[in-house]
Amino acid sequence: MSDTHAQTVRFVRESMLPPAEPPTKERGAVKWVRENLVSSWLNAILTILSIYFIWYVVSHVAPWFLNGIWDASSLSECREIRDATLGPDAEAACFAVIADRWQQLLFGFYPQDQYWRPVLALVAFFVALAPVLFPGLPKRMLWFTAASPFVMFFLIWGGSIWGPIFIALGFVIGWLVWRFLAPVAGPILALIAAIIVPILYWYFVAGLAATEAGGLIPIGLERVESRDLGGFLLSIIIGLSGIILSMPLGILLALGRQSDLFLINKVSVGFIETIRGVPLIVWLFTAQLILGYFLPPGTTFDITLRVIIMVTLFSSAYIAEVVRGGLAALPKGQYEAADALGLDYWKSMRLIILPQALKISIPGIVNTFIGLFKDTTLVVFIGLLDPIGFSNAIRASTDWNGIYWELFVFIGVLFFIFCYSMGRYSLYLEKKLAREHR
């Protein structure tokens, strides 16, 4: 065939070549520098600029930081120490303020001997989270997850143990009503009853019962007022309760937004868009200034609680959007399979759709939480003592008036550590989910 040309085609390699080392300029540090730092003129310039920038920043910040004074009781003492050891023109941070006030920045006015309680509450939170994050764990742990909000509430606020118990009982009652009424009276009536009965119970029975029980068997922890919460503890409480409490509402809104029912759909959309369209700080001022107008005359509850309510409403709109994403990511076949097995709407949501959609949404929820956690700093504008609020209060004491950077650096670093690790975690989850999802 190919005898039309003279070249001989046949070739068979007799001996295999061993792999060789690449030429020197392709190896080691030389290659790394060449490829990573100076691969072109533009890159070389950028490298030089970057190195200069880093040097500039470090040379200005490092002495201040390294000269930091940790042991003093007031700013003026700091200055004396600095003048004595380094000379009056030296740059030196006065970290003594942190040594002096770290408890307040972290825990606010929380009683010092009770610090174990918020810490334990945080641990409880992670334990509660475990079965959600690691499907391998026994399902029974979900009971603890359900109970954990009450446990955390009890740990942080203290008081009689009966309060949380009787409130939790309301949910159990609601569930029982639903359970027994649904087969008899149909889902809609049962649902309404399951909402109304607990409300009546809370309104008329729970408070009384809790007081009675507290009188009979006084078990409880020292009560801590909301206004004693502050610093990072407050940020975490607002952020976490915002996310946890907004889950049910967020899920309902997401379902509402997916719904075919015109009215429900439009109400959900309207709520979500309104909340998302207005800055959180405006909502916080709303909580502070005008929430009282909307409640029956005479109702007052403290500002921390009002903020939590507002933040819950706020984050529920964001959660709704995240969950909607999760719902939309589920293949239609899942809905159909559930229908075909004869599951009704709520059952298929609860057993089939939501468990999957929520799992997909976890990274989004974590990201929402990070955003919310950062945004809790805005409560400073309505007079709550979050870390930034506390930094102002600390500056208002005669000892530390005039101190500035050290507090902000401390707060910034703490926020960074917290948010960055959460962010990494959500990234990890996202990758893991992407791998699992086909």
Binding site: D100, I303, G383, T398, N401
Partner: protein
């Protein structure tokens, strides 16, 4: 009524600032301290017999009135200027004046300015959400000179801006100026100008409509002032309560007459208040007086007998 609420609760909810040197700030143990705080404690001592039975609610310039109006706090003891519209339009009741203040200016000595009228074209740092900005606008308008306002949310920031030279002048109440200057690294480099451009009678206030509660707050403040006038101090109050030959003191301390019962308090209400925080003069000296770093002189806040404006109506 507020009194019943407070008794039932067992604590007094008292609004203070989120932090103002000398007037209210938490210390390292988380206890609030300061001149305004003293008023709260005095009222708590008078009503409940316990100066520690106070919940301090930090408020900002923006949030303080709503907090009071909504009932979140029973008493607002935060440097709040008594003005007509606040009293009448916003429906609050000022129970008296605990500090006669006035808005002043502080400038760096290096500028060589000696009068506020020389400030044409100056950049002025002000704290927002107070009457300060309105006074300032009026002052410059009246004198037909121009200025550039730099509104700042907190004292700490205003201080930082002023020290860095981002504004030529820092204006707030004269007490605040003094307190701020006291903590500067070189206080001598700054002068407070002689002009006081406004009257700033600062006083505690309560909701309109509950006269009994308003009376309690008013007379607690008056008791502190009167105590100074009569030489009753926290040190000798117990001794004097045993009975003196000054009927006025006796009435004040409840050893004579039934003043306390008239507004449903114990008869030793004033004694408790004075024991808790001292008389007005003690409170002043402890928190903002000349012996403290803040170093305010009594000035207008001296007793009327010493040329000041403090004048407690008679206890009878």
């Amino acid at each position: 009524a507020t009194l019943d609420d407070v008794r039932e609760r067992g604590t007094l909810n008292c609004g203070v600032t989120t932090g103002l040197v000398g007037f209210a700030a938490p210390n390292a143990n988380g206890e609030w301290e300061g001149f305004d705080v003293g008023i709260c404690r005095a009222v708590a001592a008078a009503v409940l017999g316990d100066p520690q039975a106070v919940n301090f609610v930090p408020t900002t310039g923006q949030t303080r009135f709503t907090a009071l109006a909504s009932g979140e706090i029973d008493l607002l003891a935060r440097n709040t200027t008594w003005t007509f519209s606040r009293d009448v339009d916003l429906k609050f009741e000022f129970v008296g004046v605990n500090y006669y203040d006035g808005q002043g200016f502080m400038v760096p000595r290096a500028l060589g300015v000696t009068s506020a009228k020389d400030l044409d074209g100056a950049t002025v740092c002000i704290q927002t959400g107070t009457t300060t900005e309105l006074n300032l606008a009026d002052f410059f308008r009246v004198n037909n000179i121009s200025y550039e306002p730099v509104p700042i949310e907190t004292n700490a920031e205003a201080q930082q801006q002023y020290l860095a030279g981002a504004c030529d002048v820092y204006t707030t109440d004269a007490s605040g100026l003094a307190a701020t200057r006291a903590t500067f690294e070189n206080p001598g480099d700054h002068v407070i100008l002689p002009e006081i451009i406004s009257k700033e009678p600062l006083g505690p206030l309560v909701r309109h409509g509950d006269n009994e509660w308003g009376d309690i707050a008013r007379w607690t403040l008056n008791a502190l002032i009167a105590a100074e006038e009569y030489g009753v101090t926290s040190a000798n109050v117990e001794e004097l309560a045993a009975g003196t030959n000054n009927p006025e003191i006796n009435r004040l301390l409840g050893t004579e007459g039934e003043l306390g019962a008239m507004f449903r308090l114990e008869n030793d209400w004033a004694q408790n208040a004075i024991m808790a925080v001292g008389n007005y003069g003690e409170l002043f000296e402890q928190n903002i007086g000349e012996s403290t770093p803040i170093g305010l002189a009594r000035g207008l806040n001296a007793q009327w007998t010493e040329g000041g404006l403090l004048y407690a109506p008679p206890f009878r």
